[in-house]
């Protein structure tokens, strides 16, 4: 007897009488007998709440990577989350509600997402934003499809310095014979090779997709990229890291037409890759070409402000095969997490998060470069929170040894060289932790020589 099901024997008796059947088998009559399962499914025996708690604590304990000092990033980041965020997410009113189809009883969700859209638009320097996508990578793919719809062109140029997992997702979504994806290589300093881009762009390119800062943490100057693609009447799609934006020129200011990105850094736990959230913002004139839900402000019959799902004719439930996307469920609760997080941090706090990531990552990079034999991969290109260095020993070796000391040292990128490691420093890392990192790394490098 389940603790989630209220009806019992007496209830069933009455209900069967009202329905006019003898029992459950009468209700299953439309399922052909040959397809009705005769035996129980082969699943483990059920457990009580207490037993399940113990079982889950076991799984949690076996995740030994969870309590390490995290210098690992590459698309998911260990940022501080104020306690108040989860208090709001745990309000039944938010998390047990459905998509706000009945606006009159969904104003909480609707207004919160309207505020989310506003914050995303402001952060990215754009005019409008949608209510969220699944994650940054799928948002990137949707942005490419949107650019192709807007320009009626079928070629996308993606930066070679785009997160490779994101590039995979874009390729998967755009896997069609009539679509073309070309990659713009990056120069020795890690920035895009715009000469090659200028050649690839010829003959009708829908958009350039560039990451900002890029996969290696490098801050690309977007303006020349924007100028190049705009000269050819295509769109600039920027995959922006929101935590970098308080410090960096906004993509909108630099000429972006669509900005997408991953919102995990803003109040969402690492949780082994999800649920995260993709954001998307664009210029007002492209609002109707956006995929996904959009919340708009309007008024009710008494002329008070209220919020509704709007521009719904773009969406699958109305436009069906002509919809701008097939997305239905999105990541609404994660949008709420972003909104509460950004409200708590505020203008100054979020800028401070950004600045601490910037300063601390530079501190660690400089200290590591003082170790004999350690070098920077991309020379003097400015970076944010994340940087690649080359150790004189195998980066896997560094990684494994530091793991013994309780550190997640970063992501070894052996494709760039045997000693290369991509290292991330968020505001959560302390000087003490970084000094220890340097000490251990220095010992390992010294011993190996």
């Amino acid at each position: 007897m389940s603790r989630f099901i209220p009806n019992r024997g007496d209830h069933f008796e009455k209900m069967f009488r009202v329905i006019g059947v003898e029992g459950i088998s009468d209700l299953l009559q439309s399922i052909p007998i040959k397809y009705q399962i005769k035996e129980d499914l082969d699943l483990p025996d059920p457990v009580s709440e207490l037993e399940l708690q113990r079982e889950f604590e076991g799984y949690a304990d076996r995740n030994t990577g969870a309590d390490k000092i995290c210098f690992l990033g590459a698309g998911a980041y260990d940022h501080f989350i104020p306690a108040a965020v989860d208090h709001i997410l745990l309000r039944s009113e938010f998390y047990t509600a459905y998509t706000p189809y009945q606006a009159e009883v969904s104003q909480g969700t609707l207004q919160a997402i309207f505020e989310y859209q506003s914050m995303i638009a402001r952060l990215t320097g754009m005019e409008v934003a949608n209510a969220s996508m699944y994650d940054g990578a799928s948002a990137a793919a949707e942005a490419c499809l949107m650019a192709m719809r807007v320009t009626r062109r079928q070629r996308i140029l993606i930066a070679g310095s785009l997160n490779p997992r994101w590039a995979d997702v874009v390729r998967t979504y755009l896997k069609r014979d009539d679509f073309e994806i070309n990659e713009i290589p990056f120069l020795e300093d890690g920035t895009l090779d715009l000469e090659i881009a200028a050649k690839l762009i010829e003959g009708g390119t829908a958009a350039i997709l560039v990451q900002y800062p890029n996969y290696f943490g490098l801050i690309e100057d977007l303006q020349p990229v924007a100028e190049l693609i705009h000269e050819h009447k295509g769109l600039l799609i920027v995959a922006a890291d929101p935590v970098a934006l308080p410090l960096l020129r906004s993509p909108g200011d630099a000429g972006a037409d669509i900005v997408i990105g991953e919102g995990q850094s803003m109040g969402i736990p690492l949780s082994y890759g999800g649920p995260y959230i993709g954001f998307m913002s664009t210029r007002k004139k492209l609002a109707r070409k956006m995929p996904g839900r959009i919340i708009g402000r309007t008024s009710d019959r008494a002329d008070q402000d209220g919020y509704v799902l709007t521009l719904q004719t773009r969406e699958q439930h109305i436009r069906r095969e002509k919809a701008t996307s097939n997305i239905c469920s999105n990541q609404a609760l994660m949008a709420l997490a972003n909104t509460v997080y950004l409200s708590l941090m505020g203008e100054k706090g979020f800028r401070e998060v950004s600045n601490q990531c910037f300063q601390k990552s530079h501190y660690l990079q400089q200290k590591l470069l003082e170790i004999p034999g350690v070098s920077s991969i991309f020379a003097d290109t400015p970076f944010f929170r994340e940087f690649a260095v080359s150790f004189p020993v195998s980066s896997l070796e560094i990684h494994d040894r530091l793991m013994e000391k309780g550190f997640l040292a970063g992501l070894p990128i052996v494709e760039l060289g045997e000693g290369v490691m991509l290292i991330t420093v968020t505001e959560k890392r302390t000087k003490e932790e970084m000094d220890l990192y340097v000490k251990f790394a220095s010992e390992i490098c010294g011993r190996m020589e």
Binding site: R288, Q312, T313, I318, R319, K322
Partner: protein
Amino acid sequence: MSNIPEDLRYTDSHEWVKDLGNGEYKMGLSFYAQDQMGEIVMVEFPGLEEFSAGDTLGSLEAVKTAEDFYAPFNGKVVRVNAALEDEPALINEDPYEKGWLVVIATDDSSGFSKLKSPTEFSEFIGE
């Protein structure tokens, strides 16, 4: 009862077409169709290009529905009703005059003559 002017011909996709006499044909949305859609809030026009019969010319958007409109026969779009860009609801207010959509030019008048007569259209929409 729908308003179905006698001097127009009609398509299966609920557009009306008017012969302007110089190889040009004006088209718009029938009273019936605009009434079904409700207030139209957005019109998307085609470029001034050649189209084949049945091609999608553009789309009309209401709050809970969106419908495309189609080329009734082969021809070139030579004018679009720019007034609708600011005031798409003209289609609802005055579907046969101020609410016209596009003008199509063609050398071949046979396409026009194949369209539905007012009587046929009236039967088609069940009135």
